[in-house]
Symmetry: C2
Subunit: 548 residues, 2 copies
């Protein structure tokens, strides 16, 4: 990547200049204006940082005079694409800020006038912009006078810190914003903090995905789990197998070209988000069969093929050359270390009906079709491993007793009321685990559900400390049976936000009262409206401006 230049130490300084010529209390030019406020500013930060201390002091920024400048010491480059992009985005976010919550929430007391200006210095330890599972996202932010400082290990931690900085700025009047004096020491609790988007049941256009990625970054999510194909449609355009989308997508208007995919990945990476793609097999593959004859298992009724098809046929001559070619192409496009291989909800009936598979089972001394699935999954994992990838699979691959490789990550999704047992079993067997069971945000309800999402703790399953260490994080899922471009943003936001906090913050905020939770999440939701996202309400109430 362009910006992937090797510097061990890079210091980048961001200055937010503020000029006060138009301020109504007429301070001297270049002067520093502070106010004392009773605004509980820490309640505005979402997800809650590991450690945050704020005072009642705040400093003015004039909206129309504000500008950003990126500076660096002589020996370092004076720009960094990811930070430049962030500065530009946050300039607009901050500039366009309007009151996010009702006036009555902001209790002002006496004003004080001081002299100075506001500056945020960003310092990085390393200039490595590669984005792996282990990429750090820690930052220390100190907002104060005469300068605010942001220190981070790398550019991705800086992104997280700038987001927090932006959340410490509120609107005071048409001309004026104010930034609050705070110290923040922050780092993510879980490394894998994701949302699964399903683009098969309904196609989600690229601009919409990019908007979701923006909001994910504002919530400090870092994994875009792209469930790109499924039984209903195959929107992924393959160079090697163009028929897959030509015949398997809903239409040519409902596909992701190579450049679409790269646009999404680039946008994600620019915001510190990894794209973990899923090609779910051997089940959920009906749409695959349209473009690749011989891939799916022909089902039999009364000893004859009945014209229907089942999961991928692990012993067809077509299957392994096809999968090898397809995954080679996938791996060349999706650079993130992990790929999701699916493996959920495989129905054995069709395999059982097929005489060729029956025969093969007999010859192989296989007695159980779960073993046939295991045969398939292990072969697939081996293939993907040879292509240099790590992999995640749905819990059934573990549940079915498959002897899977020890470095496989098991994604627990079943049983929203009793996922603890599964997490216990998976980690007791020494596997790394991801949790989604309690975070199926597609399962909408007519009563508020954010509390349930907020209070689900992936580590709280009664395991040992060692088992807890194997929990890598989790994902919200927005399966798309009833979701497309018309309602996707309002359905995901702010309902995924409680999950963002649990994954970023760990359990330290899990016990806050419902009132405090509502207050904080409501403010966060109003901020999303402020930033142009139609995030739906949490309950009766209002933000400062009605959404039109």
């Amino acid at each position: 990547m362009l910006w992937d230049i090797l510097f061990i130490l890079c210091s980048v300084i961001l200055s937010v200049y503020c000029e006060f010529s138009k301020v109504h209390i007429s301070p001297k030019s270049g002067s520093y204006v502070s106010i004392t406020t009773k605004t509980n500013i820490s309640s505005y930060v979402w997800p809650y940082p590991i450690k945050m201390t704020c005072t009642d002091n705040a400093y003015y920024i004039l909206r129309n005079e504000m500008h950003f400048a990126l500076m660096s010491p002589g020996e370092f480059p004076n720009s960094h694409p990811i930070l430049s992009n962030a500065f530009n985005e946050y300039y607009h976010i901050i500039h366009d800020l309007t009151k996010q919550i009702p006036d009555s929430f902001i209790q002002k007391s006496k004003f004080e006038v001081e002299l100075g200006f506001i500056q945020l210095n960003v310092t990085l330890d390393i200039d490595d912009a590669s984005l792996t599972f282990d990429t750090k996202e820690d930052y220390n932010l100190s907002v104060g006078y005469p300068a605010s400082t942001l220190m981070a290990t790398n550019v991705y931690g800086a992104l997280r810190g700038i987001e927090t900085f932006s959340q410490l700025i509120l609107e005071y009047s048409d001309n004026q914003l104010y930034v609050h004096e705070c110290d923040v020491n922050d780092a993510p609790y879980f490394k894998h903090r994701g949302i699964l988007y399903d683009t098969s049941r309904h196609f989600l256009p690229v601009p919409l995905l990019k908007t979701h990625l923006d909001v994910m970054a504002w919530n400090k999510f870092n994994i875009f789990h792209w469930h790109i194909v499924d039984m209903q449609a195959f929107p992924y355009v393959s160079d090697m197998f163009p028929d897959m989308s030509a015949k398997g997508a809903y239409s040519s208007r409902h596909t992701y070209s190579k450049s679409d995919v790269q646009e999404v990945i680039t946008h994600a990476n620019m915001h510190g988000i990894r794209v973990m793609v899923e090609f779910d097999t051997p089940g959920h593959t009906d749409s695959w069969g349209k473009g690749q004859p011989g891939l799916l298992t022909p089902c039999y009724t009364d000893d004859k093929p009945d014209g229907t098809y089942g999961p991928i046929n692990a012993i067809s001559d077509v299957t392994w050359p096809f999968l090898t070619g397809l995954f080679k192409e996938i791996v060349s496009e999706f650079k993130y270390q992990y790929i999701h291989l699916g493996g959920d909800e495989v129905n054995f009936d069709c395999w059982k009906s097929n005489p060729y598979i029956q025969q093969w089972m007999k010859e192989s001394n296989y007695t159980d079709y779960a073993m046939f699935e295991q045969f398939y999954m292990n072969k697939l994992i081996e293939l993907v491993e040879q292509l240099g990838k790590s992999y995640v699979v749905w819990q059934e691959v573990f549940d079915n007793g498959n002897k899977i490789k020890q470095d496989t990550i098991i994604h627990v999704w079943k049983d929203s009321h009793n996922w603890e047992e599964e997490m216990n079993n998976v980690t007791a067997a020494g596997y790394h685990a991801l949790l989604s069971s309690c975070w199926y945000i597609n399962l909408i309800s007519h009563t508020p559900d954010y509390e349930t999402y907020f209070r689900c703790d992936p580590e709280k399953f009664g395991g040992t400390n060692l088992q807890e260490i194997l929990v890598l994080g989790g994902e919200a899922t927005i399966w798309a049976e009833l979701v497309d471009g018309t309602n996707s943003l309002s359905r995901v936001w702010p309902r995924a936000s409680p999950i963002a906090e649990r994954l970023w913050t760990g359990s330290s905020t899990i016990d806050i009262s419902n009132d405090e939770l509502y207050d904080r999440l409501h403010k966060h939701r109003c901020r999303l409206l402020n930033r142009g996202i139609p995030a739906e309400p949490l309950g009766p109430g209002y933000c400062t401006y009605p959404w039109e």
Copy 2:
């Protein structure tokens, strides 16, 4: 009203001129192009007409050459505001049409070329544009060669017919639309076909309400039940009692001024929709108390006022002068014959705790607080009656054994699984009834709910024919605890559409198969997308163009 000119017979002619200079099969200028198509055009019409017969013939309209002209015989006015407005709106709707459903749905066969042009003649029996409960909406539409004709009793029937006409037009190519040859004889089954919008739990901006009114008209709804205030907020701006919104609304940005209200009513009426406003009392009035001291009942704990308030205090000196003044103002603004007086969910505890009410009960020989509610409701009904209005109340007013006037309409809303008993009781007592119990579309689910809404028949409660006649219709409700401008359109549409068909069509389509229902409703949903409404999906699938 401007257009309320008394003509017993008015004939208005709308011409859709089509010129063919750019048609790719190069017919002669002024020629008439017909195609034979296997498109099942009747499946595109929603709600389904009482009677519709279509052939496989269709006629081209060139999108860019199409224009509307309104003509009338010499003695009649050559324009009518409501029709002119409709012609303008439908010009854009039809002009902007794009393919609503996948190409494969349209099975074209041979082409034939004929000569001619398309013309729609609209004929009205009367030119009375008043909009009462009894206003007819019938129409007869014949789409064919050399002219299409639309006959209606009045302008509102014409609106319904033009909507149907617009649904018989599909896109063929970039340049070309085609209109299908059909005969339609249509009239609504139920007279009252409404949606309740709650603008208290969340404020809904006027432009959003107007968009909803547009979509309501496309679905042939005719009642906008405006649940304008409730316990959470009082957004209605009263001239006589300005403190009601100044103190009771969320903020000054969350209010409906006099001109806002008139803008909504005018927009509704222009689309054949009545605005039935609801001021729900005596419960659900917490927000009322902020602007009118002495109105609500002070609740007592341990023989002392505890600072909380209950329902409106029917025996306070403040109450009746206030209600008289308020309702006078309401009646002067909301011209529709009916007003909804609420009366639901009155909690008696606060009344019971209040020593003054206890004393009054004793002196009046009242033993039951339902009688106290009855005292209030009867006094309110009398007040509203004196102001010349008819009224609707929620079912509790009937359930509590109130002796209410016989011309009261009872609105049944409770118990989605056993509303039949209530409908039976209400109509057996000789009252007119409206049904909402099975149509609470705010009660969202993660499984499709449109079938349930579709198959609910307000007349199917085991009553006599006479009882069935007392059923006037029903309403979908979109209570706004979790709904505001961010998600209102996608949540209401197309989920209210099955209800629209049941109310317009009666039970004649109630038994169609789930497949046919899905096919028709999906097409209707895609049409809504086509017209710019983010109507949410019914299940996995797609419309021609993804919603961006």
